[in-house]
């Protein structure tokens, strides 16, 4: 699955959470969706590999 497809899932879920009144979750999904921007054709597995090479900064 590509990041573009995953973003669609996030967007759909964002709509559901927003309708349910859970703005925090909806905003969180929106935030995470932005990670997919510009990388729509990349697979989720490839993206995960790329992120796995990084270390979180404390």
């Amino acid at each position: 699955m590509k990041l573009g497809d995953l973003r669609e899932i996030f967007k759909a879920a964002e709509g559901i959470y927003r309708q349910a009144g859970d703005e925090a979750a909806a905003e969180a999904l929106k935030e995470v969706s932005s990670l997919c921007d510009g990388r729509e054709s990349m697979t989720v597995a490839a993206f995960a590999k790329l992120v796995a090479n990084q270390r979180p900064t404390s």
């Binding site: 932005s34 697979t43 590999k49």
Partner: protein, 155 residues
């Protein structure tokens, strides 16, 4: 919201997908959730900013080390890089579309070795410093085949 809390949200969406029979989506959501695991204690906004920052650094790494004598050739042609990357990625797993984009890339005289290396790195998600254009072309072709095989496996 912390990443840990967000992973719970992802877990709920994953369960929803699984119960709707969307196994692939559920699996991919799990992969995404796992990649966020090292960031669990962070605020989600900070983690996203952190990931974006690292990703932008990874793609903007210079092709050469040390040599600064010829600045004009060291400055990457970002327009050409982005244009060719868009075409190559746009081909997806379509062999003909890829060959067309690849042919265009090979014919482009404005693309120097540094540019081509950057295209090869971004397209193949590697960090290799290609010493020749041939090596970079070869890596792009290999990356396409890898991608196509991976996509076929998923079908």
């Amino acid at each position: 919201m912390t990443v840990s809390e967000f992973r719970t949200v992802l877990g709920n969406i994953q369960q929803l997908c699984a119960s709707a029979g969307a196994k692939t989506a559920a699996k991919e959501l799990q992969i995404f959730s796992d990649l966020l695991k090292p960031y669990s204690d962070m605020q989600l906004a900070k983690a996203c900013a952190d990931i974006k920052h690292h990703l932008s650094q990874a793609t903007a790494k210079p092709a050469k080390r040390g040599k600064v004598a010829d600045q004009s050739s060291a400055i990457p042609n970002q327009d050409a890089i982005q244009r060719h990357l868009t075409e190559l990625r746009g081909a997806g797993t379509d062999q003909q579309a890829f060959e067309l984009a690849f042919k265009k890339l090979k014919a482009s005289k404005s693309v120097k070795l540094a540019d081509l290396s950057e295209i090869a790195r971004q397209f193949s998600l590697s960090v290799t410093a290609y010493k020749t254009k041939a090596a970079a072309y070869s890596e792009i072709e290999k990356a396409f085949v890898r991608q196509a095989r991976f996509e076929n496996k998923l079908r």
